[in-house]
Homo-oligomer: 480 residues x 2
């Protein structure tokens, strides 16, 4: 165990007796004196002091029980009948440490006040960062995209990171050895290394540690940490992401290459179940923005959300700017879903979509309108956040009476029934992907405006509802 950490370049030490306070003290002093990270292995006895259960797994998973508690108290020289008896020397030690702590806090507060008097602007800035609030006007830094443009949303994320980095000095982060693919550079932010105190961290291929480090930074406060990898590799950091959610930490997770749209790398790298798997974690908000403006808006929501983790899913491939996002994305993404394209006349069909399928839904809506069906397109980058909105807003986006709906997303169908409804349909990716250029995959797996139109017509006719089976690939090489 220690050898492994030696191999990592850590300082390691061993204390053979967990009751040897002086040896532990010495080991801690050595660790503090050593510039490397330290691991001190201390040998202890589980259930120490319990006459019958010490050294046994019996003292691990279950309480000692009233009789054994009495015996253990006796073994420690404490009155076996007393509850919460604290020996006088222990109470005195705690009192002494508590007084010492109060002195330190008072000294710190005094220093801080002196600092605020001498450097009022800097002190206000420190206070702002530690409080986790954002400076006035920060939103205007986010990039905006005009009709006719297009961009991979990972590139929009890159622009957002650099733009936010310029107005938010507390933004700090990096990628698990995929910065060239995730596009996470804070331009001009400098490097964070053993000798440099910049804001770009090279985490290396260690997703779980990366997320755990971000959690530590969040716990410290005063900084907004982000981490990045491919969406499919989010599986490797779920433990730390879950803890961020459980501990109300505002770490930001940037996951690019968010679907079959990554193309040739194939099914091992193509997320399909990950949207549902991330949406499932309480307190996590998973955003899959559908065009460049939504991608920038999602970054805005993420930096605001300081007391819970935000996950941002971005594309490798280009997405066109959709006209509804230009005025709608900033407010709409913040509510989880919004009307991206209103029907011409009273809507008879709603298409609900996210990410790279959103522009296909818009194209399908245009075809449906041309065929005489007024069709609304709802962009739903974060269904969970939409579910938290007030009933009036939800009704304004998805009227309960309008049950002719089709949800379209290139991930598993799990969870979409809530929005498509019993009488609606779901076009999803209920199988693993394949290796081919992205346009081929979208076509072969059935994500085309023409198929959306066909299924929408089936829903209108009452002949189609529920999950539409995902097509097999024609070449027979698909995974079951």
């Amino acid at each position: 165990m220690l050898k492994r950490f030696d191999a990592y370049g850590w300082h390691t030490a061993r204390v053979e007796d967990g009751n040897d306070i002086e040896a532990i003290d010495r080991a801690i002093d050595w660790a503090i004196a050593d510039e490397r990270p330290s691991l001190i292995a201390v040998r202890t006895v589980i259930g120490f002091g319990s006459p019958n259960k010490a050294g046994s797994q019996k003292s691990h998973g279950a309480p000692l029980g009233p009789d054994e508690v009495k015996l253990t108290k006796a073994a420690y020289g404490v009155d076996p009948e007393a509850t919460f008896a604290v020996p006088a020397d222990v109470a005195a030690l705690y009192k002494e440490r508590s007084d010492h702590g109060a002195t330190l806090v008072a000294e710190h507060t005094k220093k801080l006040l002196a600092y605020a008097t001498a450097f009022p602007a800097e002190a206000a800035e420190l206070q702002r960062r530690m409080a986790g609030t954002l400076p006035a006007g920060w939103e205007s830094a986010l990039p905006k995209y005009e009709l006719g443009g297009d961009a991979p949303t990972r590139n929009v994320s890159q622009s957002s990171i650099s733009a936010l980095g310029a107005v938010l000095p507390e933004l700090i982060g990096g990628s698990a050895d995929l910065s060239e693919s995730n596009l996470t550079d804070i331009h001009g932010g400098g490097k964070f290394t053993a000798t440099e105190s910049g804001r770009n961290i090279s985490y290396g291929v260690r997703e779980h540690a990366m997320a755990a480090i971000a959690n530590g930074i969040s716990y410290h406060g005063g900084l907004i940490p982000f981490v990045a990898t491919f969406l499919t590799f989010s599986d490797y950091l779920r433990g730390a992401l879950r803890l961020a959610a459980l501990a109300n930490l505002g770490s930001i997770f940037v996951f690019t290459h968010d679907s079959i749209g990554l193309g040739e790398d194939g099914p091992t790298h193509q997320p399909v179940e990950h949207y549902a798997a991330l949406r499932a974690i309480p307190n996590v908000r998973f955003f899959r923005p559908g065009d460049p403006n939504e991608a920038a808006a999602a970054w805005g929501v993420a930096v605001e959300r300081r007391h819970a983790p935000t996950v941002l899913a971005f594309t490798r491939q280009k997405l066109p700017v959709l006209s509804g996002s230009i005025t709608g994305a900033a407010a709409g993404v913040r509510r989880g879903a919004y009307v991206l394209r209103e029907a011409t006349g009273a809507a008879k069909m709603i298409l609900i979509s996210t990410g790279s399928e959103l522009h296909l839904a818009v194209a399908a809506a245009e075809q449906l309108e041309a065929a005489g069906t007024p069709t609304r397109v709802v962009s739903m980058p974060c269904p969970e956040l939409f579910g938290e909105q007030d009933a009036a807003y939800r009704e304004s986006v998805l009227p309960a009476a309008l049950r002719a709906r089709v949800a379209i997303e290139a991930g598993v169908s799990l969870g979409w029934d809530r929005w498509s409804g019993t009488d609606g349909a779901i076009i999803a990716m209920d199988r693993f992907g394949a290796s081919a250029p992205a346009p081929t995959l979208f076509k072969e797996f059935g994500f085309t405006p023409e198929r959306i139109v066909e299924i929408a017509k089936g829903v209108l006719a009452g002949s189609v509802h529920g999950v539409v089976p995902t097509p097999h690939l024609h070449d027979g090489h698909q995974v079951r």
Copy 2:
């Protein structure tokens, strides 16, 4: 890197030049001669031979391009214009290896035939195991439970493992250092160590490696591997579980302590999002059996399912035997869902549930019946498997016309709308748990027959539908 594997007790070696075939040969010979697992680090140049892209990340993520391909072919002395040109010496080497392989296969087949003649029974057994079929009558080994009994389903799993282990010599497995909690001992199966060839593997606290090892065993064939840990720690092995699903491997995953019902260990150990997160993976079938008979039946389905992974979720706490499972579980679990309790008269309400909430649904149904509402209880240990059944069976369990439904599960609500429907309701656990005795948690988080009855009445009255908010804990210590 190599130091780390040295620390693990591996044999390690380094080859400085990836083009030095003899050095690689020597390193492999040493590795074969060494009894320890081996890691050989070979230094190579990415894109080797490409005049302009060798040694650069440009040759990693994108094709070289037609011009650079020609230059690279020229650098290798191959005709730049030829497509799929194979030098004669390479073709000859492959031919020689292919002929050698054919000889080895012929020798093996001959040996196998001789073995089958000399030992027909043993050869038939070998063939059975390699084919992944089960011996006649194996199902009768599974334990059965009578009305009035109860058991934690992890104990049923223990009984099933030992019973199946006796009739299936190919069953092999163990736990990630939690065998005392997961209860995974194949009684009389012996230990699998460096010197013993038994069937109980002590994996240590390394969930991902454990699952990867099981995948390797599945790839080899002839064995049925299972692994085990707490359900919440399934997050640590998702990468390997996903590969099992993608590669059609029949590894079995035993995850105990499957809900808030584990009690005092608290929210870090209490799975809530894991049901949905595991159901989301294509080709994975996640079973959460609702009583002892269903737990045994789920083990039966798992050992039969040789070409895709099965996940079994078991309780720490006792569950009562439900009368409908005695005759219904064996066939019903195999179909993913079944009518556990039929309504007295034409059903006006369907309660759908899984796992430790199933008996609460039965109790609620009895109260509803007493109040005049004929109520069916559907046990749905595996919704995905139920979704694959033919339409007639699905209609027989969940008639489309009967939309008054309540789904009850102590996990996140994500995915349940498919079965509860737009007009039904979901009682779920859309927040993290807490540390308290199990009965307290079920009560405080709203999993009681009385609350199910109240919500069912609301659904019947048309005043309740969709996800019912999960209550906060009264003590204010709940996690947001």
